[in-house]
């Protein structure tokens, strides 16, 4: 029983993490129909910036570190959009994809420089002890897990209210539905796009900070960030890309497969090696299944493409 509870907590924590990152992908895709490959690098920078801010000014409590990191990343996101993506608003999509890859490479390698974050992995747990908060039925709930779950829920709810309950949110949804008509209705598309990137990047920063506490920091050029981004992106697609609630649902599903299912399948097949080794493959398998049988995602609506 305690095992089940522990696995559930892990699933929720990982799901929350994926949700925060997936939201960035889904918002940007919804508005611009474009997969922002550089998003996982913003997550990486978020994690490293958190470490830098926290260790250079220990006065700041964790919430302040979080807010500062989110603000810096939001600024980064807006600048990247302005400098690299806006000039290509009308260009074929493969080109913007390449530009995104260029931005991703740029962020990765600048992050590797000694002047920035360096090329060694770093621990962050020295800054904050992962204390046990509460013990229920033999299962310990620790600080990092609790932080992740609470923060993820709070931010997702806030975002959801923003997108579905405010005027700006309506503007965002309008632009994602039909950009030209929205601009005819008096919506400043550029402002909406910038805001989208700002929000997405801020959430990515939060995701990066939480990921860093959970798994420590690997170099910005390390493949693990790309894999993280990929899984979060799969979560967004599975849930229905362009859809905020979908991203959260998809993230939970992916986390469920990766943590929960993996736990019990590998225990079941504990004789064979390779079943457990397929942890990454499960995630992609889900993606392919969803795309084949329900391409608009679990919570998405099938749209008819008009000529």
């Amino acid at each position: 029983m305690s095992d089940l509870l522990q696995t559930t907590i892990n699933t929720l924590a990982v799901g929350g993490l994926y949700a925060l990152i997936a939201l960035g992908y889904t918002l940007v895709y919804g508005i611009l129909r474009f997969i922002n490959f550089a998003h996982s690098d913003i997550v990486a920078w978020g994690g490293w910036l958190a470490l830098t801010v926290a260790s250079s000014a220990p006065v700041f409590a964790m919430p302040a570190v979080l807010l500062i990191t989110m603000a810096i990343c939001a600024l980064m996101g807006v600048s990247i959009e302005f400098l690299a993506y806006r000039p290509l608003r009308k260009a074929p999509r493969l080109n913007v994809l390449i530009t995104a890859i260029g931005v991703s490479l740029f962020l990765q390698n600048v992050g590797l420089l000694d002047k920035f974050f360096g090329n060694r992995p770093k621990g962050i747990s020295a800054l904050l002890a992962n204390d046990v908060l509460v013990t229920v039925a033999g299962v310990e709930l620790r600080l990092f897990d609790a932080m992740t779950i609470v923060l993820a829920i709070v931010l997702v709810v806030v975002l959801e209210r923003l997108v579905y309950g405010t005027k700006m949110g309506r503007a965002m949804r309008a632009v994602s539905f039909d950009e030209r008509t929205a601009s005819l209705m008096g919506i400043n598309v550029n402002v909406v796009v910038s805001l989208t990137f700002a929000i997405g990047s801020a959430l990515a920063a939060a995701g990066g900070l939480l990921f860093a506490f959970r798994n420590d920091l690997r170099q910005t050029a390390d493949a693990s960030w790309v894999l993280l981004g990929l899984k979060a992106f799969v979560a967004a697609v599975v849930g229905g890309i362009g859809n905020v609630r979908g991203a959260a649902a998809g993230a939970l599903l992916i986390a469920f497969v990766e943590v929960f299912v993996h736990r019990y399948i590998s225990a079941l097949f504990s004789g064979t090696q390779w079943v457990a080794q397929l942890q990454d493959v499960y995630v992609f398998a889900i993606l392919i299944l969803v795309l084949m049988f329900r391409p608009s995602g679990l919570l998405g609506k099938a749209t008819v493409e008009k000529v």
Binding site: N119, G123, D216, H262, D280
Partner: protein, 407 residues
């Protein structure tokens, strides 16, 4: 005026011109590199020049390493130590009265680049010998080229047995993974009295899965049992299910043959999950960052390594001091091996009747009882180093030597 169109065609012409310039510059670059190394041969591509080695002027040694990319610290450590060795040797008069020069080419951790690097070192820089690499997969990529060209290659830190199988020009100064696995197994069984050990290895790294296999074989032969064998993918640290299964298996110790970047976090997570068993590792743990990442959880764990900076031997103290003076940091195992590799090479060069490939190869193969930073060792008939290993323990966040294990 169609500005966009004008810009288009101008950019097109400009980029084509730039490419032409860059290509010419690249050609000159490669020629210039040769001249800077004092080889003297005039051809810009050095095809004929490779066989003519001048008898005076500096001796060129090539080093291919991962100086950039995710494994940059491996290459940088090794390179620093090699340069330190070269600097010292030159101050003492060089080898055979000639100064030694090191040319380092970065392979960015990629196999194709490793092959290119070795090709360039041999053909453009006219290296008489090659040092490299740390990662076995990269040594396997560069080795065949050195073998074919008849240029001896000494790997400081590649532990995969296949590396020296490439040919009789390939040597190494470190121990092999089958020995390393056995060493850890022996320490676990004899010193720690562990009868049941769990294994948690990185399935995406040949080093890790290979070492896990060797450990398992040796440990079972000694009479121990493997409680459970779990795999993770390097970089993906969602291992709660693996840790849970290890906890359920209740082992006496856990063998974690991964790289330090993962090991630190894994140990921390394991302790948080309530796993009390001792952790054992291989030389992949060797880094200053490990205790920083793992925090207090690192204490009480052991790993096998090529040397311990605290070892009381004079060669070790000497080396650690010199390295600290030059680079203001503690030399890790890779640096120690890089240093020894360079020294072994110098020693063989002095003994060899000439610096021609075949002579140097024979001299290297004849290396006996060489005393280096990483111990006293000889090169055996398979061109591997027969040496002992050190077991390092972490106490109060510092590395101390726990044991030295001989075959």
């Amino acid at each position: 005026m169609d500005l966009r169109g004008w810009l288009d065609t101008t950019v097109c012409k400009a980029s084509l011109a730039l490419i032409a310039v860059a290509a010419i510059a690249g050609c000159n670059n490669m020629g210039a590199e040769k001249k800077a190394n004092g080889s003297g041969a005039g051809s810009a591509t050095g095809s004929a020049g490779a066989t003519v080695k001048p008898e005076t002027g500096p001796i060129v040694i090539g080093h291919f390493a991962s100086m950039t990319g995710a494994q940059a610290t491996f290459g940088i450590s090794t390179d620093r130590a090699i340069r330190l060795a070269v600097k010292e040797r030159n101050a003492k008069g060089g080898v055979k009265g000639r100064q030694v020069e090191v040319v380092t080419i970065d392979d960015a951790g990629k196999q194709t680049e490793a092959a290119t690097a070795v090709t360039r070192l041999i053909n453009d820089s006219n290296a008489v010998a090659i040092l490299g690499e740390v990662a076995s997969s990269l040594s396997l990529a560069g080795g065949p080229i050195a073998q074919k060209a008849g240029v001896p290659m000494v790997s400081p830190s590649s532990t995969n047995p296949d590396v020296t199988d490439v040919g009789d020009y390939i040597f190494r100064v470190c121990f092999l993974d089958d020995f390393q696995g056995w060493v850890v197994a022996k320490f676990a069984f004899d010193n720690l009295k562990a009868k049941k050990v769990a294994i948690l290895y990185d399935q995406s790294q040949a080093y890790s899965s290979g070492l896990a296999d060797f450990f398992e074989k040796a440990f079972k032969q000694m009479g121990g049992t493997i409680a459970t064998r779990q795999a993770y993918t390097g970089g993906n640290l969602e291992i709660s299910s693996q840790l849970q299964q290890i906890k359920n298996a209740n082992p006496d110790a856990i063998f974690l043959p991964g790289y330090y970047s993962d090991a630190g976090t894994i140990i921390r997570k394991a302790r948080e999950a309530g796993i009390k068993a001792v952790f054992l590792g291989g030389d992949g743990w060797d880094s200053e960052e490990l205790p920083k990442i793992a925090g207090d959880a690192i204490n009480g764990n052991y790993f096998a390594n090529h040397y311990a900076p605290e070892e009381p031997r004079p060669e070790v103290k000497d080396f650690v001091e010199k390295y600290r003076k030059e680079y203001s940091s503690t030399a890790d195992g890779l640096a120690a091996l890089g240093y020894d590799a360079a020294l072994v090479l110098f020693d063989a060069m002095e003994r060899a009747p000439s610096l021609k490939g075949a002579d140097l190869r024979d001299a290297l193969a004849a290396t006996k009882n060489f005393t280096g930073v990483t111990g006293t060792f000889s090169i055996d008939k398979n061109r591997n180093a027969q040496k002992s290993a050190v077991i390092v323990e972490y106490k109060d966040g510092k590395q101390i030597m726990a044991a030295r294990i001989e075959k």
